[in-house]
Symmetry: C2
Subunit: 330 residues, 2 copies
């Protein structure tokens, strides 16, 4: 039985929607959820979901990281503490990445030797699964973080997504080793010399899902812009097709016939169907869904958190970093 | 009559394809082209296109910027010199941005007070035209460049794309003024305090074409990754739809009916139909098409270059920078 501590404080659609997602996730029978939420908002919950009354949400405050330090009774801090104490095995907190990150670092704490956690997720682009990190945990660019994140992504992809010897690439503005910011160029040289990693060099934005890399590493600023750009372009294209499909009766009939075949694509492009991003580098599993997710996305977030616990993603990632000699102080 | 100097040295499809594009562009009667290419490869050319034999291409060398300095007889340098001397009004060079940039800076030269040129182009995303810059002229991030590029983009969008008082935004990992790299945060503060500019704050990747901004400013590393990502995601989505459309007879029939309505979208997503990027900040108009463009893309590149000359984009941009007091030394 895996216990997941879920913070409902940042959910745009409210605690009842998160509770419905939790109900979905516990149905398999091997997941238990402790839900930190305003108890008056939750409604009825099934067996397997326990509600802890935590009406204070800090997801929408201006400086959630500061609020984490000063609000021990907030839902996100309570959820993180439940994981830190061992009562729960994994942490799920959506809405404010800043709050989830701060609560995670403060209470669950970083793995020894890890510089900074990274947010990693499967890109919402058609094609083979590709893990992108960091998509927004930190906007500071440092060579040693890019290198550590490359190893973290590789180990995590192997543990959780069954990637065999993942091909790791750096996101850059050209494929040559000399292209990129000074930090990317230096990280490239270090990664290329590392035989423990299957490093395939730089990929450009156009190569985000062309099958050349399983894990793509970038800094949190570029990664966040990239992730949201993918979502923006996908939805702009899908909306444009929808508009075209209502242009006339002929197009509408065509769209109706085509629709069933597009179902799989719709799922691939929908961030909610992936459950959100994994926050790597903490001592326990942590998952950050979008605050706008509904029951489907929160349910999926709880499931991928449990899956990461099952596959010992944290232990395997830390062991890989140690073996690669890229932990701080090693 | 506007004369455009065209370097065919970097065209993947060869000089004859560029010549065919030039033939298309001169058909209107008010454009003349001087084509710098291997004369033996060009084939027949119509009236209005003059071929200058320049068989040496440096577009594919490892360090095109160095090659520009040492190869005065290369096609890109000859084309830039024709513009610098006043023989031609605009410069078109595809294939190697590094070579075009180096030849432009060395021979056409920067506008007085401009820190660095920027590559600007209309994003290949459905929706209202949005000008993105810098998409790859420089990977170094500097506050004063972001500020200057904001004014350059605004003035250029006004001059060439008829944007009235363009709404200018910074690309960042969050909308709040405190989000982004230290350089983005500083640039935000400076731009927000500038009343001559219609600055609308930060946009995230997801807002690339949602109608909130006409001009989006970022550094050349992030911009290049972003541009190629848009192309990659668009083509991945379009390919996935194509695959879905061949899943079965029903889907194929639907796609056939829908196809005519999708024609406009196909054009919007096709980088070739935009003609390439404008290189802003030089003393003359310069346009950089993709090296993989065929006659359509090169023809369009020549046309948008002529259009920028007609609208005095360079003079108006420089005047706007001077009025804003953001030229170096002012």
């Amino acid at each position: 039985m895996i216990t997941v501590a879920v913070d409902a404080g940042g959910a745009d659609k409210g605690a009842a929607e998160v509770a419905a997602g939790a109900a979905e996730a516990v149905r398999s029978g091997d997941i238990r959820v402790i839900l930190f939420a305003d108890g008056n908002q939750v409604g009825s919950v099934p067996q397997g979901v326990e509600v802890r009354h935590a009406p204070l949400s800090i997801a929408k405050v201006a400086d959630p990281a500061a609020a984490v330090r000063t609000s021990p009774d907030s839902s996100v801090v309570q959820a993180a503490k439940a994981v830190a104490s061992g009562e729960a095995d994994a942490f799920v907190s959506g809405g404010s990445t800043g709050a989830a990150l701060a609560a995670g670092v403060l209470h669950i704490r970083r793995l020894p030797g890890v510089h900074r956690p990274a947010l990693a997720l499967l890109v919402p682009v058609p094609g083979a699964p590709v893990l992108l990190l960091d998509v927004g945990a930190s906007t500071e660019v440092r060579v040693e973080r890019l290198v550590q994140h490359a190893h973290m992504g590789s180990a995590f992809g192997q543990a959780v997504f069954g990637m065999e010897k993942p091909r790791v690439a750096l996101l850059s503005n050209g494929e040559e080793p000399t292209r990129g910011t000074p930090e990317v160029i230096q990280a490239h040289a270090l990664l290329a010399a590392d035989e423990r990693l299957s490093f395939v060099g730089n990929v450009e934005g156009v190569g985000i899902a062309d099958g050349r890399a399983d894990v793509i590493v970038t800094d949190g600023f570029t990664g966040n812009v990239a992730l949201k750009l993918m979502e923006g372009v996908s939805s702009a294209v899908v909306n444009a097709i929808r508009t075209a499909a209502s242009a006339d009766a002929r197009a509408a009939a065509g769209a109706l016939l085509l629709k069933p075949a597009l179902g799989g694509l719709r799922d691939q492009l929908d961030p909610e169907s992936h459950g959100g991003a994994h926050l790597l580098g903490l001592r326990k599993v942590a998952v950050v869904p979008h605050g706008r997710f509904g029951r489907v996305g929160y349910g999926k977030a709880i499931e991928i958190a449990a899956e990461a616990v099952r596959s010992d993603a944290v232990g395997r990632t830390h062991a890989a970093l140690a073996a690669a000699g890229v932990l701080r102080g090693s």
